[in-house]
């Protein structure tokens, strides 16, 4: 019935080979409009759901407020959709062909094509990587990030449902550099309480960890319930992997008896059996070969002989270690006396009190938890995801803060959330379906015009562009003219990387990165960001108006100053210059001693503008 239920749709897999850069050519083709028409009939098709979202929102909205929003034009829509969905800027050629296209469904077709680009999968893989990485408690998480990203990108591009992805993340085992789904566990160091808190936050949007130490002050969760959730993860372990480069693996710690299961003969027996000269000590010669290793471990006074006391000491130590191994069952810490052994907890899922039973193996527990979490009638699982994706695209979310859905919270537009979640579940928790549906709403295609908030917005709220997208944008804009001329030669990968040095990912992320789960007010700029964009030498050299730079090439091929300004606005801000801006720029140029420098300054201003940093 539904286009999205088969994991790989034949048309889609064919389209998936088209990179974003070639999109302007694709758009000219009449894309699967036929698919769209049958799609429209289905109750849970993106089109139908988008329509009902709009209806639900308009019903709630008093007509007066409609004046504070307007439908955006094609070119604004193009920048918004391309940035939101793929983390890239639309190229001027794509802008041109999109504008000139006269198709009834061209926005829908644009979204469809964007969804099938590799950049789409990469952008959302990066998003989920950041969501987990910014809350990682373990620095080793960085070792697993690239495996996670490529794994997630594969999942998203082949329409694997979020339920299946969540299950893989919860039940993962394997090497952190190879099996990307081990990332979640790695990021929380495989520690049961932290994993409980993070799984609950990520997949359910429930902040249960406050219940770690006390009964939840606002919510109905009890302290026991948190620790029962933690008990699902009690047997997860992280171990060193063999070989190089240094790596780790997530394993199930099910074995009750550890390696040292070989029992030690009691120290008294050792003495009576082997102490041939009756000096109450075992010398090296007296001990049978198989016990000689003991000597190095137990001989505390270094007299090359073992006394009864020394052997007893070792034995106690070993028994202590054995007791520790018993920790594969989870215990809730004793708050009044943390030194004491806590209460033994068995896994129970706090939402509906399901339990896999006692003393189950690690994977049985984690699979049971994955069942409970991803169950299709789970109220939280779909909502938490919808809420996040909605926030990424619309800039505001139903539940604010993003990670706190309940139980006693009141979302904005509950009916809309309900509707979207229903469709999302019905379409196999497919990210592409969700993005497509939101993208088709009138809300996504509108802008809020008034500065005051008034009612809950029924349009897109400006949101800050993340570090990776910004990095890509700068490369796209400033390296544009350069790569063209060099195409075909000396663009080996190493060379490109060296050329791209100012945009080095790690350094850039350190300066521009933010936690994608944070609210809009927390995604602030910083002095370092301003300094970077104003002064970074390699950025500056790319903004020069001489030689093989974007501006140098523009000036060489264009003979009107107005035209250069118009092109610059299109390239950097992906929109047309307003008459007022054009006038101001022309005035600036006339005052400049050197018109090339004047253009450099204009480009510099556009890159340093706040508009450049936002999806709006």
């Amino acid at each position: 019935m539904n286009l999205f239920q088969s994991p790989i749709h034949p048309i889609r897999s064919w389209i998936a080979v088209i990179p974003l850069s070639a999109l302007s050519y694709v758009l000219i083709l009449p894309l699967h409009v036929t698919g769209e028409t049958t799609d429209l009939l289905s109750r849970f098709s993106p089109g139908t759901v988008a329509l009902s979202i709009d209806k639900l929102m308009q019903d709630k909205e008093p007509p007066a407020s409609s004046s504070s929003q307007r439908k955006i034009d094609d070119i604004e829509f193009l920048r918004r959709a391309t940035l939101d969905m793929t983390g890239r800027m639309p190229s001027p050629s794509l802008m041109k062909s999109f504008e000139n296209l006269s198709q009834p469904y061209k926005r829908i077709n644009l979204i469809d094509s964007l969804l099938e680009t590799p950049e789409f999968a990469q952008r959302w893989a990066q998003y989920w990587c950041d969501v987990m990485l910014y809350r990682a408690l373990d620095m080793r998480a960085n070792l697993g990030a690239s495996a996670l990203k490529s794994w997630l990108a594969d999942q998203f591009s082949s329409n694997v449902g979020w339920d299946s992805i969540a299950r893989d993340l919860i039940t993962a085992t394997g090497d952190i550099r190879e099996d990307g789904n081990t990332f979640l566990i790695l990021a929380q160091s495989g520690r049961a309480p932290e994993l409980a808190a993070e799984t609950s936050r990520l997949f359910l949007g429930i902040q249960i960890q406050c219940a770690q130490c006390h009964d939840h002050p606002y919510d109905s969760w009890k302290r026991e319930q948190f620790h029962e959730l933690a008990a699902f993860f009690s047997r997860v372990r992280i171990r060193r992997s063999d070989g190089m480069p240094r790596s780790f693996k997530v394993v199930s710690g099910d074995r009750i008896q550890p390696r040292q299961s070989r029992r030690m003969i009691s120290p008294e027996n050792m003495l009576t059996q082997f102490d041939t000269n009756n000096d109450l000590k075992l010398s090296f010669e007296e001990i049978p070969r198989r016990f000689r290793r003991l000597m190095t471990r137990a001989d505390k006074d270094k007299d090359n002989a073992l006394s009864l006391a020394e052997m007893n000491f070792l034995r106690e130590k070993q028994q202590r270690m054995k007791r520790n191994v018993r920790r594969h069952e989870y215990r809730m810490p004793n708050l009044s006396d943390p030194q004491k052994q806590g209460t033994l907890m068995h896994p129970v899922f706090f939402v509906n009190d399901s339990s896999p039973g006692k003393m189950q193996s690690d994977l049985m527990r984690r699979n049971a938890l994955a069942d409970y979490i991803t169950s299709t009638n789970s109220f939280w699982f779909s909502r938490a995801f919808v809420n996040r994706v909605w926030y990424e695209l619309m800039g505001w979310c139903f539940y604010d803060p993003l990670d706190d859905l309940g139980p006693d919270r009141n979302p904005h537009h509950p009916a809309v959330l309900e509707k979207v979640s229903e469709g999302f579940v019905h379409n196999g928790f497919d990210l592409k379906w969700l993005v497509k549906t939101i993208g088709q709403t009138q809300a996504y295609q509108s802008s809020h015009t008034s500065d005051s908030l008034g009612n809950t917005p029924y349009s897109v709220w400006p949101h800050r562009i993340n570090a990776d997208a910004l990095n890509q944008m700068l490369q796209q804009i400033l390296d544009k003219g350069r790569s063209k001329r060099r195409r075909g030669k000396d663009l080996s990968k190493a060379n490109r990387q060296r050329k791209g040095r100012p945009f080095r990912e790690k350094q850039f992320r350190e300066i521009f990165g933010f936690d994608p789960s944070s609210s809009n007010d927390e995604k602030t700029g910083s002095i370092q960001q301003a300094l970077y964009l104003m002064n970074h030498p390699n950025l500056q050299s790319r903004m020069r108006a001489y030689g093989n730079t974007v501006l140098g090439n523009l000036l060489q091929n264009t003979n009107s100053e107005q035209l250069v300004i118009r092109r610059l606005y299109r390239i950097v801000l992906a929109r047309d210059v307003t008459p007022k801006e054009e006038k101001r720029c022309m005035h600036y140029l006339s005052k400049s001693d050197n018109y090339r420098e004047g253009f450099e300054d204009i480009l510099w201003c556009l890159i340093n503008s706040s508009e450049f940093r936002f999806v709006h």
């Binding site: 809350r135 373990d138 160091s189 309480p193 932290e194 808190a197 902040q207 960890q209 406050c210 606002y218 604010d400 803060p401 990670d403 706190d404 904005h412 809020h448 015009t449 500065d451 005051s452 908030l453 809950t456 917005p457 709220w461 400006p462 933010f514 936690d515 789960s517 944070s518 609210s519 007010d521 927390e522 995604k523 602030t524 700029g525 910083s526 002095i527 370092q528 301003a530 300094l531 970077y532 104003m534 002064n535 030498p537 500056q540 307003t578 007022k580 801006e581 101001r584 720029c585 600036y588 300054d601 510099w604 201003c605 340093n608 503008s609 706040s610 508009e611 940093r613 936002f614 709006h616």
Partner: protein, 426 residues
């Protein structure tokens, strides 16, 4: 009398979370336009705090220094190893032999020998001793320096409020605005050199300001305004004469020698210059204390760098009359096992370790707490990390119970629990 004696928590006893209510948030957003944050409004005390001119330098010993090779030597015992103790300028106080310079100025330093904790994992302990909280709770807690720069920093300064020399934690839920301005080594900060003449830079800025007015949309006025403030601050930093504070070549060679020509030594000198120039919080990181093997030779080497720098920093600040208003904290994430392992190393030991404090109203020349003869237990005046943070707050004239609303809608105190160590300030 401490002006903070009346904590302001009572102002919001029943507000579950302002963020949870969209209406209230709208109010907050509307207020943001007039450059007052919701938090400021709720607390109303931020400006009061800023008047106190207090600063802090954190000397962070990454890896966990051994208490037995620093300020709690146990010569002549199995646990003490070959480390000798030396007499300091204060009768009755002995330090390990590697700290001759510090011994000279022991009268200015308080040594806490009884810090006790349970966290023996580097990352978790590092987090805990930078934020006052254990990781978890679905939150990323802010670096203490970020908290200080939020509460005590002034945006009127040309320099950032919080500078870190070496990598450290970030501002957590306080956001990038309060993140440390991180320097790599003692070089001046990156991207501060003008790439065009100053006149042209100013022209650029005014063009930018004009063009920004066309950026329309909801919140755009606020967005543009904050953006502008940031650019102003960044430009001030680039153009300020205080940028010279970052340039160590302005110091006499003799001064640079006194701090020691090591990364850490020069980092401390830079910290002193920054504090003088008005920076509120500086962290200087010294790596390499994780001595699972060759503990003794490596501690001798590391102390060789830290000892002269620490001592010089204290006496230099004192000479400049800045010591009373500047708290210096020397600490690492934990101590090291009294037992010496077969590779002549020491392993992680959070149960009893040392922290040294100087300046900021701390009474020097004293030892706080005591460990057992074998170093395995604290036997007198145990001090927990949260007690330390309460004491830092006291020295910096901050109420440790000051709350900030976290993104999960839960008010978070600067320090939860703990009491300040009164002896420090007697």
């Amino acid at each position: 009398m401490n002006p903070l004696a009346q904590p302001n928590q009572t102002l919001f006893p029943t507000v579950k979370s302002p963020r949870r209510n969209f209406l209230q948030q709208s109010v907050a957003s509307a207020l943001a336009a007039s450059a007052i944050s919701w938090n400021d409004l709720v607390k109303g005390s931020a400006s009061q705090l800023r008047k106190q001119n207090r600063r802090c330098i954190l000397l962070w010993m990454q890896g966990g220094p051994s208490q037995l090779e620093t300020f709690d030597p146990k010569p002549g015992t199995d646990q003490g190893g070959p480390t000798e103790a030396i007499q300091t300028s204060v009768p009755g106080i002995y330090l390990a032999q590697h700290w001759p310079c510090l011994s000279q100025i022991a009268g200015e330093v308080a040594f806490i020998r009884s810090v006790t904790n349970r966290e023996g994992n580097h990352q978790r302990a590092r987090y805990q001793l930078h934020t006052g909280y254990l990781p978890g709770g679905g939150l990323k807690h802010p670096h203490f320096g970020s908290v200080i720069s939020k509460e005590k920093g002034t945006s009127r300064h040309d320099l950032p409020d919080f500078v870190s020399i070496g990598r450290t934690l970030d501002a957590g839920f306080l956001g990038t605005e309060f993140s440390p301005f991180t320097l790599k080594g003692q070089r001046p900060p990156e991207n501060t050199r003008l790439t065009v003449p100053e006149k042209r830079h100013r022209r650029r800025l005014s063009l930018l300001e004009d063009l920004e007015t066309e950026f329309s949309g909801p919140h755009s006025k606020t967005t543009v305004k904050t953006h502008q403030t940031l650019y102003e601050r960044a430009s001030r930093l680039m153009l300020t004469s205080k940028l010279k504070a970052f340039d160590l070549s302005n110091e006499n060679d003799s001064v640079r020698e006194a701090y020691g020509r090591t990364d850490f030594g020069q980092g401390c000198l830079l910290a002193r210059r920054l504090i003088e120039a008005g920076v509120t919080f500086v962290e200087v990181v010294c790596r390499g204390w994780d001595t699972h093997q060759d503990n003794f030779s490596r501690h001798a080497e590391l102390a060789g760098a830290v000892d002269p720098a620490f001592a010089q920093l204290v006496s230099d600040l004192k000479r400049r009359n800045l010591l009373d208003s500047t708290l210096i904290v020397w600490m690492g994430e934990f101590g090291r096992t009294p037992r010496i392992n077969p590779r002549t190393g020491r392993d992680h030991f959070p149960k009893a370790f040392n922290v040294a404090l100087s300046g900021g109203g701390v009474r020097g020349g004293q030892i706080i707490g005591k460990t057992s003869a074998d170093g395995m237990e604290v036997i007198k005046r145990p001090v927990e990390p949260k007690d330390l943070f309460c004491s830092f707050c006291h020295s910096l004239k901050l109420d440790p119970r000051t709350e900030t609303m976290s993104p999960v809608g839960r008010p978070i105190k600067i320090v939860e629990g703990g009491t300040r160590i009164d002896e420090l300030f007697g």
